[in-house]
Amino acid sequence: MADALGAFLEGTVRTATPLAFAALGEALVERSGVINIGLEGSIIAGALGGVVTAGGAGTGVGLAAALVAGAAVAAVFALFAVKLRADQIITGTAVTLLSLGLTGTLYRSAFGTGGAALGTPTLGPLAIPGLSAIPLVGPALFAQPITTYLAMALVPLASWWLARTHAGLALRACGENPAAARAAGIAVGRVQTAAIIFGGALGGLAGGTLVLAQAGTFVEGMSAGRGFIAIAIVVLGRWQPLGVGLAALLFGAASALQFAFQAMGWQLPYQLFLASPYLLTLLALALARSRFVAPAALGKIVEA
């Protein structure tokens, strides 16, 4: 029983890590007034970028490449959504489609139509002496790959940055009242572009984490909707980094639960667990009256 619980907690944190990266990035993007549903595209690009480079150059370079790949995809989105002021939803859908298609094509062209599995070294768990010995939660929280610690550090960092720095205030101003922000001398387009590219880089890191800290290989379409889940996590976390971190854990728990139930031999349709985070998000959205906490200018096109 304790074993199953320990495995469940460990699985929760592990599954939550890439979701937290992607959702934290998206939270910052949305706080700047832009909704980027092309995030899925950044994740899959990061996964491919990571797996291709890590084999030869090591996992560190792989994660860096994942960041760059994710940022590059987001830059395409920024070009259309900010520079050309195109509809964000349509652009985001196109960017996701573009990235899924391009990564699939490149991968199959390079490694055969059958998609021969491309193995890569993975980041091992890095146990923190002392803390990892705490019963139950110790291994789950403090014997994880370095990427998990990075995600944990990002949550307070993003909170502090948003609330306490000038740049954070400028970002929030763009999302709440772009006209006022412009009057105050803030280059709204530039702030949003920077936020989108940073968010894309974190999305890429999420993809890199998937291959380099978890799967150890690339599978076509392996982002499996995580970009969209991340958007749900942002809403559930009410656009606050701390809330986003907790919401990511909740989604992680929902998918870890299916393995726990299987281990216990309980016969429940696993699709129920897979679908539950989405249903939970819908419920939370309905109850949260989220329109009052969402950035006021979210998704609106800012005319120059």
Partner: protein
């Protein structure tokens, strides 16, 4: 055909040429034989009567009907990106009815298509209600419901609706009375394509010639003005258009089951509901234009299948072409709008 329609058609043609050029570059860059690949693309899409009828037009059918669903919603200012989920629910309901009950052929097929539309409408009603009553952004709710629908389908074909031998994750096969008739003997082109064209014409008339269509366009263009201009309840009009959009997507799923697959599968749709967004946008949300763009995308996807088979080109490359087309349409629209603003300013 008036000049603006002619211009739109030529813009789409130019963009398609550009996208095909890009496809050629991608193929060359990834080390494929460009000649072989493009020959296979043409052969699988328009190379023969059979390719055109059984490949392109059969593929175009769900894209056409789901494209109309997107068109209706977007025209009303509802960003329904849940056509995929609504389509899957329509397919599931149609299969369930088709397996449970048989009457005369016309009644069976009719009932099955109606069940699909009903299920798609109900699935959309969830998101529509969340928007109307709780102010939940439909972009997020429909995305979530797509995943729920996909998992629900996965459970259905492994649980209550699994075929009798309980080996494969799919339903039993529909009886012939539950299948849409073939339009041209010897091909696989079913009556669903014609239904799609009828629906496109009907939607065009609805939007252009009726009071309801006027209200939809008004609400989509400017909900605030629609309300202040009097007696148009923008929220109710959007709600109705949302559900009708879901019904159309569900209808598309029912047509696919009754015309092509004859059974419920988990991978029934290779993302028709998402491609439909590109189809509708490329047609600039014009129902009659959707017929053309759906056939174009049907040809691309049918051609991609033969490219993969005959020239070892991954069929997902078509997604790249579709995505580039959407981005190009968006860019030209914005460019045109900015030029008009500039002209008005001087």
């Amino acid at each position: 055909m008036n000049t603006s329609a002619l211009r739109d058609v030529s813009v789409v043609a130019a963009l398609t040429m550009f996208a095909l050029l890009l496809l050629t570059i991608i193929l060359a860059a990834t080390g494929h034989d460009v000649g072989d690949a493009l020959t296979a693309l043409a052969r699988g899409s328009v190379g023969s009567w059979d390719a055109l009828l059984s490949g392109t037009l059969v593929r175009a059918t769900p894209l056409l009907i789901a494209g109309l669903a997107i068109t209706l919603a977007f025209r009303a200012g509802v960003l329904n990106i849940g056509a995929e989920g609504q389509l899957l629910m329509g397919a599931a309901a149609a299969t369930a009815l088709g397996l449970a009950w048989h009457g005369p052929a016309w009644l069976t097929v009719g009932g099955l298509l109606l069940a699909g539309a009903l299920a798609g409408g109900c699935w959309a009603a969830v998101a529509a209600t969340l928007r109307l009553r709780f102010g939940v952004l439909e972009v997020i709710s429909t995305l979530m419901l797509n995943f729920v629908a996909q998992y629900l389908l996965g459970w259905l074909v492994r649980g209550p609706m699994q075929e009798p031998t309980r080996i494969y994750p799919q339903s039993a096969t529909l009886d012939t009375v539950a299948r849409l008739p073939i339009v041209i003997p010897g091909s696989r082109l079913h009556a669903g394509f014609l239904l799609g064209i009828v629906l496109a014409v009907a939607l065009a008339i609805l939007l252009r010639r009726t009071a309801a269509g006027f209200r939809i366009r008004l609400v989509g263009a400017n909900p605030v003005a629609a309300v202040s201009a009097g007696r148009v309840d923008a929220a109710v009009v959007a709600f109705g258009a949302f559900i009708a959009s879901g019904a159309l997507a569900g209808f598309a799923g029912a047509v696919e089951v009754s015309g092509v697959t004859f059974a419920l599968y988990e991978n029934l749709s290779p993302g028709y509901g998402f491609s439909a967004i590109a189809v509708a946008l490329l047609a600039r949300l014009n129902p009659l234009g959707v017929i053309g763009t759906a056939v174009l995308f049907g040809a691309l996807e049918a051609g991609a299948v033969s490219m993969q088979r005959d020239a070892a080109v991954p069929s997902v490359v078509v997604n790249v072409v579709e995505a580039v087309l959407i981005l190009l349409v968006v860019a030209t629209d914005r460019w045109r709008a900015q030029r008009l603003t500039a002209q008005a300013g001087t």
